[in-house]
């Protein structure tokens, strides 16, 4: 089997020697997967993200990226493989024009000038940023600054992408456009780790969830299973999505209680309704057409 994209072994990190942010965290993230990292404010999510790109070094334990220990590699070296989108776009914007912002990161990769220029124009077009190429990023609106930072991270074609709260403060359309770019990069083989409170993002895009609570990894499992467990989510003060809760309310009637999206819910519900109508018409035994099925618990 190939090496995991990210592997943490017994990692601990303490800020200023005082506040333990991560305690003995071990996990391994398969190459090509899209994984969500969730948990309360202050649970250690961003700290874990920064261990993976070498910005922070664990005081105990080790971090391997694509099978290699990064302890002795510089942040710049790790950044060739790991693209990091900071929570606040203003923490990574510094050039005086959008084009320069994207070019700067690519030059550091040591690519030939012609290749740099080609990639810059390509990514500007992909992100609909061509019209803003010569404008200072600082005067653009928040949504556009967010796009610029993602564009400059993706232009490097990192094999691992870490996104820290990418959709915070964005409207639906901007947030979808942003995630579609991430989706394309994921489609071309990149591993994505997204840190977020946005449970719809988790449900719609990821296949596995890691959950931190006070610096400890308390849950790790398939998105569908984890998001359908209110008691596990509650330990990190997270509620299941409305559509999952609705599906659980209808369990006594035969819904599985694990719907993650509107489409999924609708398809399962219509199939169930058709089945119940057919059973009702044929008077088949075993299903009670006028009430919940017997093994599903109470109505309340």
């Amino acid at each position: 089997m190939s090496d995991p994209a990210i592997e943490l072994r017994s990692c601990s990190y303490t800020y200023d020697g005082l506040v333990p942010a991560l305690r003995d965290v071990s996990c391994s993230i398969e190459a090509g997967s899209w994984v969500a990292l969730i948990g309360e404010n202050g649970s250690g999510k961003s700290t874990l993200g920064k261990l993976c790109n070498g910005l922070l070094r664990p005081q105990h334990g080790r971090v391997r990226i694509m099978g290699e220990n990064i302890q002795d590699r510089s942040v710049g070296e790790v950044a060739r493989q790991v693209g990091y989108l900071f929570q606040n776009p203003d923490h990574q914007i510094f050039a005086s024009a959008v084009r320069d912002e994207i070019t700067f990161d690519l030059r550091k990769l040591g690519l030939p000038r012609s290749e740099v220029e080609r990639r810059v124009e390509e990514v500007l077009a992909q992100f609909d940023l061509t019209a803003y190429a010569d404008r200072p990023p600082a005067v653009l609106g928040y949504g556009l600054r967010r796009q610029v930072t993602l564009a400059s991270v993706l232009a490097r074609r990192p094999s691992i992408l870490i996104l820290d709260e990418p959709t915070t403060g964005l409207d639906w359309e901007t947030s979808h456009a942003l995630l579609d770019h991430v989706c394309r990069q994921h489609g071309s083989g990149s591993t994505v780790l997204v840190i977020t409170h946005d449970m719809r993002l988790v449900a719609e895009r990821t296949t596995r969830v890691l959950m931190l609570h006070r610096g400890t990894l308390v849950a790790d499992g398939p998105t569908r299973e984890l998001l359908a467990q209110p008691e596990v989510l509650a330990s990190a003060s997270i509620s299941p999505l409305p559509v999952t809760r609705l599906s659980q309310e209808l369990r006594p009637w035969g819904m599985k209680g694990q719907s993650l999206t509107i489409d999924e819910f609708y398809r399962e519900y219509m199939a169930l309704l058709a089945e119940r109508l057919a059973d009702g018409l044929s008077g088949r035994a075993g299903h009670a057409p006028s009430g919940p099925v017997s093994d599903g618990g109470s109505l309340d």
Binding site: G42, Q87, G169, P242, L246, Y266, R276
Partner: protein
């Protein structure tokens, strides 16, 4: 009830970046009103001008920011162009998305005391206000802590307490829950709700979080292309799914599900909550 905030045909453009330049209008004909004790949710795309509109309520725009300002904003009968922002800040409390932009003291107590002290109130009154504000915001246990070592949710509630100590008549929440975890969001919104109910505070709440909107808002207004494109009751506006989508906005998940049923099955569901959807679907499955 008479409106407490009245915005009338408001036009605003930020000052140009260079002397010969010109910047397009952010607000172009906004008219809106909010009554005492009411919570108005303000929706709009990223960059629609929601924060700009918030800053007109306490006079920061245009008095400190400059720019081109036409029309009128009145709060409690006062024209926000005529009254000094310092005076307006006693009436209009603003809470921003990033609490760190408004925390600067060594302890939570000092942070919350700053506003009342600047009003030169007697010490007993200042102490009372601090205690009440910390309690309302649910952070009385943090009084002697440093704001810097708190979690994001705690910082945001300390910033709220500092705003509340001024006893504002209007509370403007500019996406304060955006980076909070669900528990932090809930406690902040509960504090705002309490103020609204107990003190008749008018709340203007800017948010993208539509699943939470029915918990606090009485009315919704949508800012689009510089104007208020839609306004009305929560259910009336949130069920206008096509209009909201056209304006680039999301929908609460249950409203989206209702729209999906309505489109495919010619029903007329208008669910906002899981409970409403569950009742309707349980009834159908029982047939």
């Amino acid at each position: 009830m008479a409106p407490f905030i009245t915005i009338d045909n408001l036009y605003y453009a930020y000052p140009p970046l260079n002397p010969t330049g010109e910047r397009p209008a952010v607000l172009n004909g906004v008219s809106l009103s909010v009554t005492e004790g009411e919570c108005l949710a303000l929706l709009g795309r990223t960059g629609a001008g929601k924060s700009t509109l918030c800053l007109t309520l306490n006079g920061i725009i245009p008095q400190l920011m400059g720019g081109t300002f036409r029309g009128q904003v009145r709060v409690a009968g006062l024209n926000t162009q005529d009254v000094a922002p310092g005076e307006l800040s006693q009436m209009v409390g603003l809470l921003f998305q990033d609490p760190e932009s408004q925390l600067f003291s060594m302890t939570v107590e000092d942070e919350v005391a700053f506003g009342p002290e600047s009003l030169a109130l007697p010490p007993g009154e200042i102490d009372l206000r601090i205690t009440q504000a910390l309690e309302l915001a649910g952070v009385e246990g943090l009084r002697s802590r440093s704001p810097l070592n708190l979690s994001g949710g705690e910082k945001q509630r300390v910033a709220l307490a500092a705003v509340l100590a001024m006893r504002p008549k209007v509370l403007v929440l500019d996406e304060p829950t955006a980076s909070l975890d669900p528990a932090g969001k809930r406690s902040l919104l509960e504090a705002a709700n309490r103020l609204q109910a107990e003190r008749g505070t008018a709340v203007v709440w800017v948010t993208q979080d539509l699943d939470q909107l029915p918990l606090l808002a009485d009315r919704v207004a949508v800012l689009h292309d510089g104007r208020i494109a839609l306004q009305g009751g929560v259910r009336d506006i949130l069920t206008r799914t096509e209009d909201l989508r056209r304006m680039g906005l999301g929908l609460p998940q249950m409203t989206e599900l209702a729209a999906c049923f309505n489109a495919a099955r010619d029903t007329r569901h208008a669910w906002l909550t899981v409970e409403e959807a569950a009742r309707a679907l349980q009834e159908e499955l029982n047939v």
